[in-house]
């Protein structure tokens, strides 16, 4: 039974990967644009000269990128490359490969996104649980309206406002980048401190908004759980309210919350991309922004594909964790 569940989840993951690769391959080709020629023409215009051999150059590059073969051959090659996570050269940073560029950016994004997602999920879930608990201090009620309001605004908007007040006006924190320009990346205390200082604002703009969402969802679940018969029964048995809170309400309300986490990873990431862009944080989002500005198709595709795969993996792991969190699910036929 459990094996069937795992197999099904893995199957869905592979399907997502295949769909992402296929979409990535066919969508740009539907528009009939030629990225290599576009890029060369753009460069010729920027350079202010007319390149006589531009057709020959286009052909040369197309051969290099394998763009001169039949469509189905290209598709198979593409799938093969994708399966080995080989994303070709970056057009705007040739001869650097897409993988090299991404490898530099990924740690930044994983660090920022991982920390903020875990923190906001944990704080939000706990806060939401407390908000619903009758035994919680009264002043906690005051938190509700700001949480509601915060949760409705996009991450990057919160980021812009924070940036203006904390970085521009008060100058408490740096405005841009992942570390001070010119600092030499090394594993020294000073550099790590610098990196952390630069991460505070982007992280805060995600945490402030996301925590509200998790708290509100958790509060809703807790209210529903508190109405269940088993909670009434536990109260009738005379169990301590702490025990009821932790083991009866929280334990059950946290299950749908985990499902929601798996479902909203994509949304969180979409929002975080924009946060990186406005803070010029050296992660995947900023690389993507520059790739879009420079029309670098291979880089855009590589990023989109790897992010979809990474998120698919994260969702898969949460899905596999779920039967462990909720023992009831294991005995059900998947």
């Amino acid at each position: 039974m459990q094996l069937a569940y795992i197999a099904k989840r893995c199957g869905i993951f592979l399907l997502i990967v295949w769909l992402a690769a296929t979409l990535n391959f066919f969508l740009p080709r539907l528009s009939g644009r030629d990225p290599v020629r576009d890029k060369l023409l753009q460069q010729a215009q920027l350079g202010g000269y007319v390149q006589a051999g531009i057709e020959a150059m286009t052909r040369e590059y197309e051969q290099r990128f394998g763009l001169d073969k039949a469509l189905w051959r290209q598709y198979l090659t593409y799938l093969h490359d994708m399966s080995r996570l080989h994303f070709n050269y970056s057009i705007s940073h040739y001869p650097r490969t897409v993988n090299e560029i991404m490898a530099e950016a990924i740690p930044w994004t994983v660090g920022l996104l991982g920390t903020t997602t875990v923190l906001s999920f944990a704080i939000g879930t706990l806060l939401g649980a407390l908000l619903a608990w009758p035994g919680a201090p009264r002043y906690m009620r005051v938190l509700m309206p700001p949480l509601w309001a915060l949760h409705a605004i996009p991450f990057f908007l919160c980021g812009l406002i924070l940036m203006y007040f904390l970085a521009f006006q008060l100058q408490w924190l740096p405005m841009f980048g992942g570390y001070t320009a010119g600092a030499f990346p090394a594993l020294t205390l000073a550099f790590v401190g610098d990196v952390l200082k630069h991460a505070v604002l982007p992280a805060l703009s995600i945490i402030l908004v996301a925590t509200g969402g998790w708290a509100l969802a958790m509060r809703g679940m807790m209210v529903t759980t508190q109405g269940e018969d088993y909670v009434t029964f536990a109260e009738a048995k005379g169990l301590q309210s702490r025990t009821i809170f932790l083991h009866y309400c929280l334990r059950n309300a946290i299950l749908p919350q985990t499902t929601a986490l798996a479902l909203s990873l994509g949304q969180i990431l979409s929002g975080a991309v924009l946060v990186e862009v406005i803070f010029a944080y050296p992660g995947i989002g900023t690389v993507l922004y520059h790739a879009i500005r420079e029309n670098d198709h291979f880089l855009i595709q590589g990023i989109v594909f790897s992010v979809i795969v990474a998120l698919g993996l994260a969702t898969l792991m949460l899905d596999l964790l779920y039967p462990w969190l909720d023992p009831r699910i294991t005995y059900r036929k998947a």
């Binding site: 203006y164 521009f168 924009l274 855009i300 969702t315």
Partner: protein, 299 residues
Amino acid sequence: MHGTWEPEIAPMGSMSGLAPVWSYLRRNRSLVAGLVLLSTLGLFVGLGHIVVDTSRSRALSAPAIRPPSLQYPFGTDRQGRDLLAAMVAGTPLTLRIGFIAGFLGVGLGAVLGFVSAYYRGKVDALIRGIVDIGLTVPGLLVLIIIAVSLKGGLTVDQMALVVASLAWLLPTRTIRAQVLSLRERSYVEVARLSGMNGPEIIVKELMPNLLPYLAATLVNAVSSAILASIGLEVLGLGPVDSPTLGMTLYWVNYNAALINGWWWWWLAPIVIILVVFLGLFFLTVGLDEMANPRLRREG
């Protein structure tokens, strides 16, 4: 019997028609908050179109980078747009993207959700599978791939279509879940026994009962569509020559207006975007409460 009923109903009818509405609105404060925020915005845009010359939202129609003054109440940007004119002209464009994409999304989502939940079986499994997979993928990135493939003169309406291409996923799921719980109700059973066919039951029995819920889903979809469109625009994939709110933010970011201290440039779009999102959010909450009065217990 009939006679005793009349006098009881009469006072209700003789009351002013708005009284029940007022008393309801007093209870549903989220709905009021949403409506107030959005009508304020509507008023701003409406009056703005009368008072302000929106052609000054084009570049080079005003001196560059002027802080707010009597002549330019919201200031001007680096390309010489009068920001008040840009806001008056751009706000409806952004809302237009949201509404087109939201309506298309909820329309398609409603059809798929109803069909999926009412007929069950293989159709349901297929639709549910597609939605489940589609929802785990980060929407903005897929939209980026679509927009990049089409790049080169994306208009506001094309933008709406791009956003709509994913806007049906969430409505399909939520509407399906609602219909699933409704289809087992006894009045649906009665309709089935009295010989109504599937589409008839969906349109005549299920739809009316879900209307407030569909409205909440629609408002939510509009809000997500606006968010997605602003995201694409900030990344530089929007309609370059239109003064939508997202494009204004794109220029703000592009010209690093924040470091340069040109606060008026981003203040107006941010305030308006905040009003839009908060208004739509409170409207959704209010409509949700209307659709599901049980929620009131929680408040």
